[in-house]
C-alpha cells in the first residue's frame, strides 16, 4: 500500500509536534490513532524514519496497547468493559452478545464498516457495571435484551447521516 501525500504530511506533522520530547513515541502514536484512525505498517515506517525508532519497536508498542489499531476502525467503536466489576456483573456476556449479533470477534470490524468491537479493561465506571462505551458515550447497566436496540439505534443514525 502506498500512502497518499496528504496522509504522509499528517504523520510527519504529528512527529514534528513532539520532536523535542525525550520519549515521543506514545504521544505520536496516540495522535496518529486519533487523527489518522489507525496505524498500519506503512505509517509506522514513516514514524520510524522521522524519529529513528526501529519499526519493530513501534510495532511492539502498537500491538501492546489495545487502544492502538493496525486496521481501520468502524464508524462506531463499541467498547465493552470486561474489567473486574463489569466482568462479575456479566460484561463477558455483553461482549459475546455484541459479537454474536454483529458477527465479529473483539478487535474486529463489521463488514459494512459501521462497528468495531473492543474488549476494554475497566473504564472507571464500576458503579454502573456492566458498562459499555460507544464513541465515548457510556451506557450504564447494559442488559442483554437492550443490545439489539442499541445496535439498531446506531444503524438508523448511520442511515440518517
Amino acid at each position: 500500500m502506498v500512502l497518499r501525500k496528504e496522509a504522509v504530511k499528517i504523520i510527519k506533522d504529528i512527529c514534528a509536534r513532539y520532536k523535542d520530547e525525550p520519549s515521543p513515541l506514545m504521544l505520536i502514536l496516540s495522535d496518529t490513532q486519533k487523527e489518522y484512525g489507525y496505524i498500519p505498517l506503512e505509517v509506522q515506517e514513516i514514524i520510524s524514519a522521522e524519529t529513528g525508532i526501529p519499526v519493530a519497536e513501534i510495532y511492539g508498542v502498537v500491538t501492546f496497547y489495545s487502544f492502538f489499531s493496525l486496521t481501520p476502525k468502524g464508524k462506531y467503536v463499541i467498547g465493552v468493559c470486561v474489567g473486574t466489576a463489569c466482568y462479575v456483573k456479566g460484561g463477558q456476556n455483553v461482549l459475546d452478545k455484541f459479537g454474536e449479533l454483529l458477527k465479529i470477534k473483539p478487535g474486529q470490524t463489521s463488514e459494512d464498516g459501521l462497528f468495531t468491537l473492543d474488549a476494554l479493561r475497566c473504564i472507571g465506571a464500576c458503579g454502573i457495571a456492566p458498562a459499555i462505551s460507544i464513541n465515548g458515550k457510556v451506557y450504564p447497566k447494559v442488559a442483554l435484551s437492550a443490545i439489539p436496540g442499541i445496535i439498531a439505534e446506531y444503524r438508523k443514525k448511520a442511515l440518517e447521516e
Partner: protein
C-alpha cells in the same frame, strides 16, 4: 575508579563501584546463573529472573543483574530461598518451552539447558500451554523458532544497539508475546541484513543459522566433484569447538579434517582474497585516475551489501563491483580450474566454509553466477563444519596438521589471511595499490593505523606524492556514520573498508559461540578480548608468510597470464564482478 567493599557469603571483597551485583560476583569468583544479561552492559532488561540473590535489608530477593553495588552491601547467593527461587524461575521458563532437546541443534551449547542443570530444575514441574509457534525457514541465512524463545531480549539489543538496525522487537502482549521481526514476518520479508549477530547471543535454539549440511550430503551422494574452500577467519576459531583455547590457529587440523571428510580438493579462500585485492586495488586506481567522486567502498561483506542496498541505495555507485572472495573462488573453480583439468563444471559442487551466515544468502544472488551457473553451491558456517567433524567421529586432538592442496589455485599470501579482521582488506589493498601506482613496494609492510578494534579508524597514505585518506569501520552502527557523512557531502575519505560484523569476520555470525558459562578455563575478560585473540591468529599468519603482497602471488600471476589477461579485463569482469539492486523492497508482500 572508586572501590567499595561488598560481602559475598559474609566474605569481604573490594570491587569497582560502578558494577551490578552480578558483574561484581563474577569478578570475585561467583558465577550467578543468568539467561538474559549478556556481557557487561549488553542486554539488561532483567527479564529472566534467574539471577535472584538475597541482599541484607531487602524484603525480597533481588535480580542481581539490575542491582548496583554499594559499600557494605551483603549478598547471599547460597541463601536457601534464593536457591529455591532461582530454580523456580528456570522451571517457569521451561514450562512453556518446546523441550525437544534431544534433537535440538543447540544441544551442548544451550544456555537454558546448562542453567537448568546447574540449578536442578525439573522440566515438567509446571505444566501448561506452550509458547505460540512460528518457525521461519524462509530466510536463507537465519532460522527462527519462537517455541524455543525465552523472551530474554538479547537479540533485540544486539540488533538495535550494536548493529544500529533494530529488526527484532517484542510483539503483542502477555502470553502471546513473541520476539520477532515486525508483524511476525520472516527475516526475508523485512530489511534484515542477515548478519547473524543475533544467533551469537541467543541462549537457546530460537535463532540459529540455516543449516545446509543436508545439501552437502546430497552433493556427495550424487558423486559430484565436491571442492571446499575455507575463509581466513574460520581457522582462527574452529578449534574452540573442540576445547582449544581461544586464539589457537586451527589451519592444519582443519585441512586434515576436510581431507578426511572426502572433499575432492581443499582450497584456501585466501587465493581468491588475493584476487579480490588485485581487482579491487586496480578498480580503486582506475577510479582515482578517472577522477570518479570518492570514496570507494569495499564489497567483501554480504551483510554490509544488504545494509547499503536497503538503507542507502543512492550510494551504491560508490560500492566496488568486486564479488566477495569466496564467490570469486567459486567462479574461478568453475571456469579456469575446470577447463585446465577438463572437468565438466556442472559436475562441480563448490562448498564454502565461512564465519558468516549472510554468505548463505549471498550465494543465491542471481548476479553471483556466470552463464546461469551459480559460483558457490553450499555455504557452511564454522559451527556447521565443527558439527560435520563431530559427526564423522574424528578426534580433533589426534588429527595431524596438513596443508591446503596446491593445484593451480593453491598459493596464498599474507595479505589475504588478514581479510578476516577489520582493517585487513584495507591493509592488503594499500600494499597492492601502492605497487600499481608506483611500481615500487610499500615499506614497512605493516600498516598499523588500520589495525585495532575502534569502530571507525582513520589513516592516510602518501603514494607518489598524493595523499589518500582511508577509513575502516565494522558494525553497521559505525558504517551509518560514514554513509550519513557521504549523504551530507562532508565525507573526506577516498577509500573506505566496511565489514558487517563488529570486529570483522573473526566475530562473524557463523563463528563459534563465546560464553563464559561454557569457557571456565578462559580469562575472566574473555567476552571482551576474544575478537582480539582470534585476530592475532591471522596477523601472526601474515607475519609467517614469505609472500605478503597479493600481486606477488605466483598462482595469481599465472592466472592473469594464462586466462584473465589483465587486472579488470573483460574476462575478469565477467567472472569476478557483480551488480547490485537499487530497488530492494524493504517490506515485500509475504509469500
Amino acid at each position: 575508579m572508586a572501590k567499595v567493599t561488598v560481602y559475598f557469603e559474609n566474605i569481604p571483597y573490594s570491587v569497582d563501584d560502578n558494577l551490578t551485583i552480578l558483574e561484581a560476583a563474577r569478578a570475585c569468583g561467583y558465577n550467578i546463573p543468568s539467561l538474559c544479561t549478556f556481557k557487561n552492559g549488553e542486554c539488561s532488561v532483567a527479564s529472566c529472573r534467574v539471577c535472584l540473590v538475597k541482599v541484607e535489608g531487602e524484603r525480597r530477593l533481588v535480580a542481581s543483574c539490575a542491582y548496583p553495588v554499594r559499600d557494605g552491601l551483603k549478598v547471599f547467593i547460597n541463601d536457601p530461598q534464593a536457591v529455591i527461587d532461582r530454580r523456580t524461575s528456570v522451571e517457569l521458563i521451561l514450562s512453556n518451552h518446546h523441550q525437544d532437546c534431544q534433537t535440538c541443534r543447540k544441544n551442548g551449547q544451550c544456555e537454558l539447558l546448562e542453567v537448568a542443570r546447574r540449578v536442578g530444575a525439573q522440566p515438567d514441574k509446571y505444566k501448561g500451554e506452550k509458547t505460540p509457534v512460528t518457525i521461519d525457514t524462509l530466510a536463507p541465512s537465519i532460522i527462527r523458532d519462537t517455541s524455543k524463545c525465552i523472551l530474554c531480549g538479547r537479540c533485540i539489543e544486539r540488533c538495535k544497539n550494536i548493529q544500529g538496525i533494530g529488526i527484532l522487537g517484542f510483539e503483542n502482549r502477555g502470553f502471546k508475546t513473541i520476539v520477532s521481526p515486525v508483524a511476525n514476518r520472516s527475516f526475508n520479508n523485512v530489511p534484515c541484513i542477515q548478519c547473524g549477530q543475533c544467533t551469537l547471543v541467543c541462549p537457546t535454539g530460537a535463532l540459529m543459522e540455516h543449516s545446509e549440511i543436508a545439501k552437502l550430503d546430497a552433493a556427495f551422494k550424487e558423486g559430484k566433484y565436491v571442492i571446499v574452500q575455507t575463509a581466513p577467519a574460520v581457522r582462527a576459531a574452529l578449534g574452540e569447538e573442540f576445547g582449544d583455547a581461544i586464539g589457537t590457529d586451527s589451519t592444519g587440523k582443519m585441512v586434515a579434517a576436510l581431507h578426511r571428510l572426502g572433499f575432492y580438493r581443499v582450497f584456501d579462500t585466501n587465493f581468491a582474497a588475493d584476487l579480490t585485492i588485485t581487482e579491487e586495488a586496480s578498480e580503486f586506481v582506475h577510479r582515482v585516475v578517472s577522477r570518479t567522486p570518492g570514496p570507494m567502498l569495499t564489497s567483501c561483506s554480504p551483510g554490509w551489501i544488504n545494509y547499503i542496498e536497503y538503507y542507502y541505495p543512492e550510494l551504491l555507485p560508490h560500492l566496488s563491483s568486486c564479488k566477495s572472495p569466496h564467490e570469486m573462488m567459486g567462479a574461478i573453480i568453475k571456469s579456469y580450474y575446470a577447463e585446465k583439468h577438463g572437468i565438466d563444471k556442472t559436475k562441480i559442487c563448490v562448498v564454502s566454509i565461512m564465519p558468516c551466515v549472510a554468505k548463505k544468502y549471498e550465494k543465491d544472488r542471481p548476479a553471483n553466477s556466470v552463464d546461469g551457473i551459480q559460483d558457490v553451491d553450499v555455504v557452511l558456517t564454522t559451527r556447521e563444519l565443527a558439527q560435520l567433524i563431530k559427526r564423522s567421529g574424528m578426534m580433533w586432538k589426534k588429527l595431524p596438521e596438513e596443508r591446503f592442496d596446491d593445484d593451480l589455485i593453491g598459493a596464498t599470501t599474507g595479505a589475504a589471511v588478514i581479510f578476516g579482521v577489520t582493517g585487513g582488506v584495507m591493509e592488503a589493498a594499500v600494499r597492492t595499490a601502492y605497487h600499481i601506482l608506483t611500481n615500487k613496494e610499500l615499506e614497512p609492510i605493516e600498516f598499523a593505523p588500520v589495525r585495532g578494534f575502534k569502530g571507525i579508524k582513520e589513516a592516510s597514505v602518501v603514494i607518489d606524492g598524493s595523499e589518500y585518506r582511508l577509513a575502516v569501520c565494522s558494525g553497521m552502527k559505525n558504517a551509518k556514520v560514514i554513509l550519513d557523512s557521504m549523504k551530507a557531502g562532508t565525507c573526506k575519505y577516498d577509500f573506505v573498508e566496511v565489514m558487517g560484523c563488529p570486529g570483522g569476520c573473526v566475530n562473524g555470525g557463523g563463528q563459534p559461540y563465546v560464553n563464559n558459562l561454557f569457557k571456565p578455563n578462559e580469562d575472566d575478560d574473555i567476552m571482551e578480548t576474544y575478537i582480539q585473540k582470534r585476530a592475532s591468529v591471522l596477523y601472526k599468519a601474515d607475519q609467517n608468510k614469505v609472500i605478503r603482497r597479493s600481486h606477488l602471488n605466483p598462482d595469481i600471476i599465472q592466472l592473469y597470464n594464462d586466462y584473465l589477461e589483465a587486472y579488470g579485463s573483460h574476462k575478469a569482469h565477467k567472472l569476478l564482478h557483480t551488480t547490485y539492486n537499487q530497488n530492494r523492497e524493504k517490506y515485500p508482500d509475504e509469500k
